[in-house]
Amino acid sequence: MTAADASEAVLAAIRSRRVVRAMTSEPVERGALEAVLDAGRWAPTAGNRHLQRFVATDHRGLLRVLRMVSPGMIQRPTAAITICTDRAAAEDYGFPPEAPGLFVDVGTAAATLMLAAHAIGLGAGPVTSFSRAAVSTVLRLPDGWHPELIVCLGHPESTQPRPLAPRRAFTWRDLTMWAPSA
């Protein structure tokens, strides 16, 4: 593969990835889950600090309970990765608990995990609407780990739920302002 081919493959993956909200009951293979987790460690973090932690599960019962306490989890995933912030480690770095940089790093981790899942043929969807207290309890998180975002993983259904309003097709120009402006 040439460098140009590799570039095009990466861009094609970025353009074709979608949030998957309907998944089949087919399990995610453990090797595939580990491949996604391995990609996660390459996500950029501020200062290369790596204050995010990943909690992975493909346990059917645990996933069911996770969904019960996550109102935003429309899909029924067969695996999930919960991205947590290690608030104790963050405090050691001098971050206040709500420092924006910590959440930016959650976002880059989520984007990387979802793109990796897409690259190996899995569907992925992020969920932020869940009870932090309940998810901490369900996953038995260590003290100081704060759950921020759940990446649901599974094999995509052929049809996905559609929102009432049609999607707006943005171009990069719609989303961009040049500085200095013309």
């Binding site: 909200r21 019960m68 306490v69 996550s70 109102p71 935003g72 429309i74 609407s129 869940f130 009870s131 207290a133 309940a134 739920p161 559609r162 929102p163 009432l164 309003a165």
Partner: protein
């Protein structure tokens, strides 16, 4: 044949088991907490709960109730929020409310008013 229970002159099918009820209870309580942070999503979360309840009871419901669940309730938007097309969203939810009211009136409207 679903198990039935008697309500006055009406018979009604048992449509939820404890697992289903607990799932819905957990959803409602955790959604109440998340709405402190994301109130704009409130109607969507309630409709998600309605979809989940419909999915739980569909198999054991009466034919008339199943028709409602698989019709007006199934058509309720699963993901939309009343932001881009608030009038359309409102009209669709109003339509579902009317369908539920029609169903309830047909099912219970003939019962005598309790003293």
């Amino acid at each position: 044949m679903p198990e039935m229970r008697q309500h006055g002159r009406m018979t009604s099918a048992w449509v939820l088991d404890e697992d289903d009820a607990m799932e819905l209870l957990a959803y409602l309580i955790t959604a109440a907490r998340t709405q402190l942070d994301e109130a704009a999503d409130g109607p969507m979360r309630l409709l998600t709960a309605a979809h989940r309840l419909a999915g739980m009871i569909d198999a054991r419901a009466s034919a008339e109730t199943r028709a409602l669940l698989e019709g007006a309730v199934a058509r309720l938007p699963l993901l939309a929020v009343p932001r881009d097309d608030r009038d359309g969203y409102t009209a669709q939810v109003d339509g579902a409310c009317r369908a539920v009211a029609d169903h309830l009136a047909a099912r219970y409207g003939a019962e005598p008013t309790p003293a």
